[in-house]
């Protein structure tokens, strides 16, 4: 069984300090990294190969030529080969248009399992996998926190529900799984391993090579459109009241200028206090019995 892993190269948000304006993050200088959950997917695929369950691991990415770096990292981690789907016509793609391209490329491969990160940390949509699975007519489960592939026919999974609850599922293969960050710890790859991986060739496919037309991809294939980007509300900067004494101002700064709540102090013996507290928590819906 071969495993296809979809990966996305994203802007490293740690270094994102300003937005150019308009509807794209125009940040050519910012460092780019492989999306966190996608590395988890590559790690899982590599481990399945090491266990002898998977034969070949194929990393696929849609992105600009610079996304080669992301694929070299996947190769260094243990992927056998990599495909880069790259065409200026793909620009402006949303989740749907991206899935059209990825599904088309994957449909030409021989696969038993497709792994994706459950969401990319730039758009935080988590939707591409669902579209791909629908286009390929295979089952999808996203939010996977534990998985067990025993044979070529079936996979057993845990999916994250609310709080500490987990749903237990079984799906027939081939299937697409959107994996969560807790599934495993992606291995460390050295620079040497990455430079060794660069000896491998990454196959490039453009729109024509995939047999797609411009009506399917980019903005024309998109179902949603970003109209504007902004910074979330800036954090309020605290300025102490100048009429206060220096000591009081210092104390305010020390506390971070937080507003005081009118806290209720509960008194009594530990048992009485506990009983009153639990009553308050239930009435304020902070606790359900």
């Amino acid at each position: 069984m071969n495993i296809v892993v979809c990966v996305k190269q994203v802007v490293d948000t740690e270094h994102l300090t300003k937005i150019a304006g308009g509807n794209t993050i125009d940040a050519p200088d910012l460092p780019r990294v492989v999306n966190t959950c996608d590395l988890v997917a590559v790690e899982e695929a590599t481990q399945l190969k090491e266990k002898g369950i998977a034969d070949e691991v194929i990393a696929v990415s849609m992105g600009p030529p610079s996304a080669e770096d992301a694929l070299y990292r996947c190769l260094a981690m243990g992927a056998d080969r990599a495909l880069l789907l790259c065409d200026p016509a793909f620009e402006g793609s949303d989740s749907h248009a991206t899935a059209v391209v990825l599904a088309k490329a994957i449909s030409a491969l021989d696969y038993g399992l497709i792994l994706c990160g459950q969401k990319a940390f730039d758009t935080e949509a988590g939707q591409v996998g669902y579209y791909i699975a629908e286009m390929l007519a295979i089952p999808i489960i996203s939010g996977v926190v534990k998985m067990d592939v025993r044979s070529d026919e079936k996979v057993r999974l845990h999916r994250k529900l609310k709080g500490a609850y987990r749903e237990l599922l079984e799906a027939s293969l081939p299937a697409l799984l959107g994996v969560g960050p807790v599934l495993n710890e992606p291995r460390y790859v050295s620079l040497r391993a990455i430079s060794r991986a660069k000896r491998k060739e990454i196959k490039h496919y453009n729109m024509k090579g995939l047999g797609l037309s411009s009506g399917d991809v980019g903005q024309r294939g998109a179902k949603t459109k970003v109209t504007s980007l902004s910074r979330p509300r800036p954090k309020k900067i605290f300025v102490p009241d100048s009429s206060l004494s220096a000591m009081e101002r210092l104390m305010q700064v020390e506390s971070g200028g937080l507003e005081e709540k009118e806290g209720n102090i509960i008194t009594g013996s530990p048992q009485e206090a506990a009983s009153k507290l639990v009553q308050v928590l239930i009435s304020r819906k902070a606790l359900r019995i």
């Binding site: 749907h96 935080e124 669902y130 529900l161 500490a164 237990l168 179902k223």
Partner: protein
Amino acid sequence: MDQIWVVLEHEEGELDDVSWEIVAQGREVADKLNQRLCAVLMGSNIAAVGECLNHSGVDEAYLLDAPDLGTYSPELYTQALSKLIQERGPQTVLFGATPNGSDLASRVAAKLRIGLVSDCVALDLDEEGLLLQNKHTHKGKVCSTIISPQARPQLATVRPDTIEVKDLHSAKEMKVTKIPPQLDISKCSIKVTGSIRIDPVALPVEEADVIVAGGRGVGSGENFQLLEDAARAFGGTVAATRIAIDNRWVPRERQVGQSGTTVMPKLYIACGISGASHHVMGMKDSGFIVAINTDHDAPIFKLADVGIVGDLLHVVPAITNEVGQRREAREKK
């Protein structure tokens, strides 16, 4: 008249909080656009759940009632809802951004090949009545406004706790339409075999709804066991301040504060924590804060919704006990 739909989730005969939130949000949008607000309920024997929606501003409820829909089945729910959407053609469909709500919305969007904007924090309308769907992206560093220009319906999931539910009461009688869903079980390739609850104490601090946190006042690693017991009773996990971490009472990944993790649980119980700003910065946005400390002048009390002045070594076990007893009493009923 055009319709806006809200797809509601319920548990043990009661609607989830996020369901009421999207009802409120849906009513607001429906009023602005002069549309009908319709609620979709799926499940088994759900007539009573539908009734509790009456007089809350919903114009019509669609009840998809079938034994096979008794628990969430990804494929059957998708079949039933997609079909209803295709038949009745709503302009907009809202879901709660819960694990199941998000999953269902994503599946319906894929099946109908339409757009979806997930985890919205605010919904607005432009001049033409298009839904402006606002969400946080890039790990919360950017706020994106997204539209679904053509494909209908516009699909959005709404993050829980972002909409304040005001009084929804309305004198209008809600119409109830029962629709027997036609389900094709043979098409299912995913089997839900059950669900489990993992030990909540093992949850990462970012994921926990309830956190029982300890500081210097806890005194020792052994005493943290008391906090762990309380956390388990509340279905939450344990966290600590820097000093408790440095003393190796608790593993480092459980540190909350400026040099640790920032958390926003629904309930935060601070035990033996004075309230230094380094710690407070990591938990101040918690839904409800309880402070337990022997020093009644501790700054943490100013931040707390409820405070108890007392020795946590006695108070915390008493709380654990109290919660346990109430649970037992309820189960006996």
